[in-house]
């Protein structure tokens, strides 16, 4: 019905948003009849939500029309944000932000650069940004998992680590075993995604390609390409971050800094 009334895509979008908001407000009114007062919270949230998302959409619209180098700018911003978010998983480890940002930049950067150079990812912003963001987001998750697991492992084995230090072991060697198990654990989701591809789930990218009229076979193969790229970048990120973080849990005098409860 709406499509016959609104011919411009943006007016159609606003009309759809208005209907969705009215539905949400009706539920709020229903709640009010049961003495649950959500009116002001819901109204503010709806207004704020539409303003925020329209602002983001507008910025993206401008950037997508810009020159190709804008991609590098956008992807760099994503890497910085990803580094900051996943560093929070390494609570009390000094230098976690630096380690996370460098690892994600290297892991996602190397894979994206090689695949773009090889022509697997198109250099158009509309292709590079969505695929690049998927790679960065997954590298971020893997990095967070790896650092979190490493932190827990070290905290659970303080006695073993300090015993090895007291016997004259090199600090990085005393935690090497925990770094290895962290890499393994952090890659389980990426490996499982690859294993279950097409059987348990049909990822969003493939769905999008099918909706936009691509050949189902090409959409399927390209989805595999993306998931394999995610595994490569996640693996590289995890390897780098656990290698770098090992030295950050020790002081210059080779004392274990990470103590407390896991």
């Amino acid at each position: 019905m709406l499509r016959s009334l609104f011919h411009s895509q943006i007016s159609l979008g606003f009309a759809q948003a208005a209907i969705a908001s009215v539905l949400a407000l009706l539920v709020v009114l229903l709640a009010r009849r049961r003495n649950i007062h959500l009116e002001s919270d819901a109204a503010i949230a709806l207004l704020r939500g539409i303003v925020q998302i329209v602002a983001v959409g507008s910025i993206l619209m401008l950037l997508l029309k810009g020159p190709r180098w804008t991609s590098a700018f956008l992807l760099t911003g994503m890497v910085l944000a990803a580094g900051s978010i996943s560093a929070k998983r390494a609570k009390n480890i000094p230098g976690a932000l630096k380690v996370s940002t460098y690892s994600i930049a290297a892991g996602a950067g190397v894979v994206t650069a090689i695949m773009t150079w090889a022509g697997v990812i198109d250099t158009a912003i509309t292709s590079l940004i969505p695929v690049g963001s998927m790679i960065i987001a997954n590298a971020m998750n893997t990095n967070g998992l790896a650092l979190n697991r490493f932190r827990s492992e070290v905290l659970s084995h303080v006695g073993e680590v300090e015993t090895a230090l007291a016997l004259g072991a090199a600090p990085e060697e005393t935690v090497a075993r925990y770094a290895e198990s962290s890499i393994h654990s952090s890659l389980i989701p990426a490996i499982d995604n690859l294993r279950s591809l097409g059987i348990v789930w049909i990822p969003g990218l493939m769905t999008g390609m099918l909706l936009s009229g691509s050949s189902p076979l090409y959409a399927a193969i390209y989805q595999f390409v993306v998931i394999a790229m995610i595994l490569a970048s996640s693996g590289l990120t995890s390897l780098l971050s656990t290698m770098m973080i090992r030295s950050h849990v020790f002081s210059p005098a080779e004392q274990l800094l990470l103590k407390g409860t896991a």
Binding site: T163, A164, L167, G168, A169
Partner: protein, 233 residues
């Protein structure tokens, strides 16, 4: 001689000067000055929370002092690389924390870190010394608590330390194993003139084993002397 090297009688192996450690607002160890002579078994005694273990951890720099200094054979230990210091000042803790594998792997651990391979004959000699002949190829998961602690002692001795720090080494053991480890430590000290600092909350153990005792209270050294002098109460 460098400015940080202070002349010390040759017999004093470990010496602390106004040693302290503060964590935040809490002073865990405060202004401790004492020396441990070659072949001496110094008992560090005090109630729970008196800073005994914290003091011991400063002696091999597992924790960093915030004041004062530690000298190993007259040399400020900050002049030594931490790994070299820890080879020369060994440690045996309350729980042995043996590494997965067999007994020989554990005994060889320290020398392996320096790229040395301890010959099998030396492994067997160390195991004999701690009362575990023929245990080299036993898996550590099949050892009793007392046996594990003996392996832990052999592992520390494999580094040929000049001083050995013992942090409540018998508190997790039953009476029989405890007596065995006490005798073993005393025998090793007698035979090798090893310098030892033993942290214990058990005054009777200090009386049985130690040649001299230091009493700590609230992180401070309150008395030192022979067991008869300071543990009479």
């Amino acid at each position: 001689m460098s400015a940080d090297t202070v002349p010390a009688p040759m017999a004093v192996v470990l010496r602390t000067e106004h040693l302290g450690r503060r964590v935040g607002e809490t002073e865990i160890v405060s202004d401790i000055s004492l020396g441990v002579e070659r072949g001496e078994l110094l008992g560090v005694v005090g109630p729970s929370g008196s800073g005994k273990s914290s003091f011991l951890r400063l002696l091999n720099r597992l924790d960093e002092p915030t004041s004062g200094a530690v000298y190993l054979v007259g040399q400020d230990y900050r002049q030594l690389a931490p790994r070299e210091l820890r080879r020369r000042v060994g440690m045996v803790t309350q729980r042995p924390f043996l590494f997965p594998g067999d007994v020989a792997l554990n005994v060889r651990f320290g020398p392996t870190q320096r790229g040395e391979t301890l010959p099998s004959a030396e492994v067997n000699r160390l195991l004999e010394r701690v009362g575990l002949p023929g245990f080299a190829h036993r898996d550590v998961t099949n050892l009793s608590g007392g046996e594990q602690q003996r392996v832990s002692l052999a592992r520390a001795l494999a580094n040929r330390p000049e001083a050995l720090l013992l942090d409540e080494p018998t508190s997790a053991l039953d009476e029989e194993a405890k007596e065995g480890i006490e005798e073993l430590i005393c025998e090793v000290v007698r035979q090798t003139s090893l310098t030892c600092a033993l942290v214990t909350h058990d005054r009777n153990q200090a009386r049985r084993m130690c040649t001299r005792v230091a009493i700590l209270e609230k992180g401070r050294l309150v008395r030192t002397g022979t067991p008869a002098e300071v543990l009479s109460a």
